[in-house]
């Protein structure tokens, strides 16, 4: 766990080059590439529709840094955050952009799959072509280390006997964690409030302070607190166990009737983008995903590298939309 022993390999030079990349993107346009009209002719903007510093943003930055370091594309990739409106704003900007491949989207699938089902959005699922699927992060169900419940069954039994006494913190609205929690609570017929916070940080803070009794969040966000002895993992909410807590059973093993929802991050371009451009992007990012640097990044952040080609991602999205629609209908929500 002592990561400081890793010898710092970065040189001051690479920092200077990187600084120049950030400061002077225009200067890097080689006249040759621009003249030929080849792709990419200028730096590629990776729009992350979330705030900087979050798990999506960090994965995008790690990938962009590898693509740039290894010169996998003749032009640099730059991450630009366009947060706001539950990621609809940034996603919409890419969907309605020029489609020449110089502006691409990196996000979890929530704004693409869920948002168009529940509200008016400036795009539809069909507005995008997925370039590839990158990582998936499983969800975990935790309680505080000093809580009396040692297992999921104990907690559910307590919740059944004491309506409204177990409050489950949910790190963000209309995301996969909320659907899975609602799915679970409905299947078990529990009277258990789900407390939705605006983001993962506040949910973890509230749980650490004992303002809620349980929390469902990504393994990435929970890992430091589980390792630091603050949280106990009661269950993996994915179909298999977590590397973070191999002793904790999955909800399926325990016989709970709930579907698996994974936080799934993908690259997207507007649907009108030419297949050749999509292929160039796909190939470069795929190589970056396969480097040992990215594997190390994913492992440290408890994310699973889950490559899917563009067409496979497209198929997965379609079934995800169908599933989500079913759940929304079962919950009695209005579906567009």
């Amino acid at each position: 766990m002592d990561l400081r022993n890793r010898s710092p390999r970065r040189r001051a030079l690479s920092l200077a080059i990187a600084a120049a990349t950030v400061a002077l993107p225009g200067s890097l346009v080689t006249p040759n590439a621009a003249a030929q009209g080849a792709f990419p002719a200028k730096p590629i903007e990776v729009i992350v529709p979330w705030a900087p510093g979050g798990s999506t943003d960090l994965a995008a930055r790690a990938l962009a840094a590898i693509v740039n370091d290894k010169k996998l594309l003749p032009q640099p990739m730059q991450v630009v955050n366009k947060p706001g409106g539950s990621a609809i704003i940034g996603s919409g900007e890419v969907a309605n952009g020029s489609g020449d491949g110089h502006q691409i989207l990196y996000t979890g699938t929530e704004p693409i799959v869920i948002q168009p089902l529940v509200k008016e959005t400036p795009y539809k699922v069909e507005s995008f072509t997925p370039v590839l699927q990158v990582v998936q992060t499983p969800l975990a169900f935790v309680v505080n280390a000093d809580a009396p419940w040692k297992s999921m069954q104990e907690l559910v039994a307590y919740a059944r006997a004491n309506p409204k006494k177990i409050r489950i913190a949910n790190p963000g609205p209309q995301g996969w964690s909320e659907w899975q929690l609602r799915d679970l609570v409905r299947a078990e017929k529990l009277d258990t409030p789900i407390i939705t916070f605006e983001a993962g940080g506040p949910a973890i803070t509230a749980q650490l302070g004992g303002h809620t009794e349980a929390l469902a969040a990504t393994a990435t966000a929970l890992a430091p607190h589980v390792r630091g002895g603050k949280f106990r993992v009661l269950a993996s909410m994915a179909d298999d166990r977590l590397a973070l807590a191999p002793g904790a059973p999955t909800l399926k093993e325990l016989g709970f009737k709930t579907r698996e929802f994974m936080i799934t991050q993908c690259f997207f371009v507007p649907a009108k983008t030419s297949p050749a451009v999509v292929k160039t992007l796909h190939d470069a990012i795929k190589v970056a995903m396969e480097t040992s640097e990215f594997r190390e990044f994913a492992q440290k952040n408890n994310a699973r590298i889950a490559y899917l080609s563009g067409p496979d991602t497209s198929a997965a999205l379609k079934s995800s939309v169908a599933n989500t629609r079913d759940i929304l209908v079962e919950m009695g929500a209005k579906v567009r």
Binding site: M1, D2, L3, R4, R6, P8, R10, L15, A18, V22, A51, P52, G53, G54, D57, L58, R61, A62, A64, A65, V79, V80, N81, K82, P83, G84, G85, S86, I88, I89, G92, K119, E120, T121, K164, R167, P173, Q174, P193, I195, T196, F197, E198, G201, P202, I204, T205, A206, L208, G209, H211, T212, A223, P224, H225, G228, G229, K230, E293, K300
Partner: protein
């Protein structure tokens, strides 16, 4: 002593040439983005975030921390000079700082702000070093109901301390809260968007602030008859605080430091809240409260110390719990993650070298900042000598760029212009804009705290008064409100009803 040994080792790490360079780069950049309205530490850090991928973690932490606390130094500069807050945490500094500038005391205001920032910044590092674990656990006891009461208290204080009509101040607070409800709320539900996707992101806080302060001030400057009057030259001794000004600043700086540090520990927009808590405190303690709003140096010294101390305090939950309480500390956490370190609740024990190097670097950075900022006072004051035909377009350009830069959104520029026009009309009719702007800043977080509190209690509003800490805050607010109202009522009875209020 264990702490002294660790600190010595920390200084050994922080004093290596490369780490000194990173600290200097951080404080210089922090000062610059602090001075520039709109572009804040958040923008600077997100621009540099990609660089920390694979960087040695001590350098990443030194650089990012320095940008963050450095920005609190620069934020007051434009507040004082041109009534445009460089950061949300310097809105309050406009009230008296800019009045001082109009009276030819810009140099003194800037100098006191820099010195106050240095004292507060250094004291908060001492606090961070000595008190991290116990205070962090106390901060966790504050949940949504407690934040809500705290922010409500802040807004009430704002109404009571406003110098003009209380009713008008209350109206402005309500309007600010209303503006905060535009856009997608925290549960993802769009409100007042009229189906326009651009409005899903709401009316950006920074754009509203810069419109209401910056644009309005520039329009006022244009409207003033003396807009082309020659600016009197500033003599050297006018750059320094007088003995009386220095003496009056000591207490506010000390109190602002403690208040700011303690508030900095809590989640929410606490850096900004600490500034008006300090302002209200100083006005309440002052023997001449009527001076406030007319160029009282206490109104600059206290809040500018408070925001620096709060920025220092905000590190504490990050290093002691591994949880960032604000957008800025979340970015610092992001920088550490990209550098390969995952801070958790045992960060200080697991990474003592990193923690103590960062602490030592913060002491060094604060010294660098005061050395960097004091000579800049003269430079900034001489900017005021620029003729309005140069200064006004420059400030306007800064506002426009700043509003765009926050979300890389052109829509926010329109929000800025709209806020400027509305703000100009309001100020023409004697409405104070500070309560509106601060209500806009707090509104979003207040609503989230209100909503999560009520879901925690399954809809029972008693949650705001039955939990011990929340109840204490509520009781203090009630007591202050009753006291202020009775005092005002008694004053009115004593005074003959000769002159109606303007």
């Amino acid at each position: 002593m264990d702490i002294l040994q660790s600190l010595a080792a920390g200084f050994a790490g922080a004093l290596t040439p490369v780490n000194l360079l990173f600290a200097f780069a951080g404080v210089a950049l922090g000062t610059a983005v602090g001075v520039l309205p709109g572009i804040g530490p958040l923008g600077a850090m997100s621009m540099l975030l990609s660089l920390t991928y694979g960087m040695p973690p001590d350098r990443a932490l030194i650089l990012f921390a320095a940008i963050y606390y450095g920005a609190q130094y620069g934020g007051s500069t434009t507040s004082i000079l041109v009534n445009v807050p460089g950061e949300t945490s310097s809105v309050i500094t406009c009230l008296d700082g800019h009045k001082m500038a109009q009276q030819g005391r810009a140099g003194a205001a800037l100098a006191v702000a820099a010195i106050g920032s240095f004292v507060a910044g250094t004291l908060s590092v001492v606090g961070l070093m000595l008190l991290a674990p116990p205070l962090a656990n106390f901060a966790l006891k504050f949940g949504p109901p407690e934040y809500f009461n705290l922010m409500l208290a802040g807004l009430l204080v704002l109404v009571f301390m406003s110098s003009g009509s209380k009713l008008k101040a209350l109206l402005m607070v309500l309007l600010g809260l209303a503006l905060a409800t535009v856009g997608t709320d925290y549960l993802g539900i769009a409100r007042y968007t009229f189906g326009i996707p651009k409005l899903f992101g709401g009316l950006d806080m920074v754009a509203v602030i810069m419109g209401m302060f910056g644009l309005v001030e520039m329009m006022n400057a244009l409207a003033r008859a003396d807009a082309t009057a020659p600016v009197k030259s500033v003599r050297m001794r006018e750059l320094l605080p007088t003995r009386d000004e220095a003496k009056r600043s000591v207490g506010p700086i000390a109190r602002g430091s403690v208040l700011g540090f303690l508030m900095g520990l809590l989640p929410g927009p606490v850096v900004t809240m600490s500034t008006f808590a300090s302002y209200a405190l100083e006005k309440r303690l002052s023997r001449h409260p009527e001076r406030f709003g007319r160029g009282a140096i206490e109104g600059v010294a206290g809040p500018e110390a408070a925001n620096n101390a709060a920025a220092g305090g905000a590190f504490l939950p990050l290093v002691a719990l591994g949880v960032p309480f604000s957008g800025s500390t979340a970015l610092i956490l992001g920088a550490l993650l990209l550098a390969g370190v995952t801070p958790g609740p045992n960060f200080i024990q697991e990474q003592p070298g990193l923690f103590w190097t960062a602490v030592a670097s913060m002491y060094i950075g604060n010294v660098m900042l005061v050395i960097l900022n004091l000579p800049l006072v003269g430079v900034f004051v001489s900017l005021l000598k620029a003729p309005p035909r140069l200064l006004i377009p420059l400030v306007l350009a800064l506002c426009l760029i700043g509003a765009y830069a926050v979300n890389n959104s052109l829509f926010d520029v329109w929000v800025l212009i709209g806020a400027g026009l509305v703000g100009y009309l309001l100020s023409r009719y004697g409405f104070d804009l500070a309560p509106l702007v601060i209500a806009r800043v707090l509104g979003t977080q207040m609503e989230i705290a209100f909503g999560t509190s009520l879901t925690l209690s399954s809809g029972d509003p008693m949650i705001f008064v039955t939990r011990p800490i929340a109840a204490t805050i509520a009781a203090v607010v009630l007591a202050v409100a009753i006291w202020s109202l009775t005092a005002a009522w008694r004053a009115r009875r004593r005074r003959p009803p000769a002159i109606p209020e303007p």
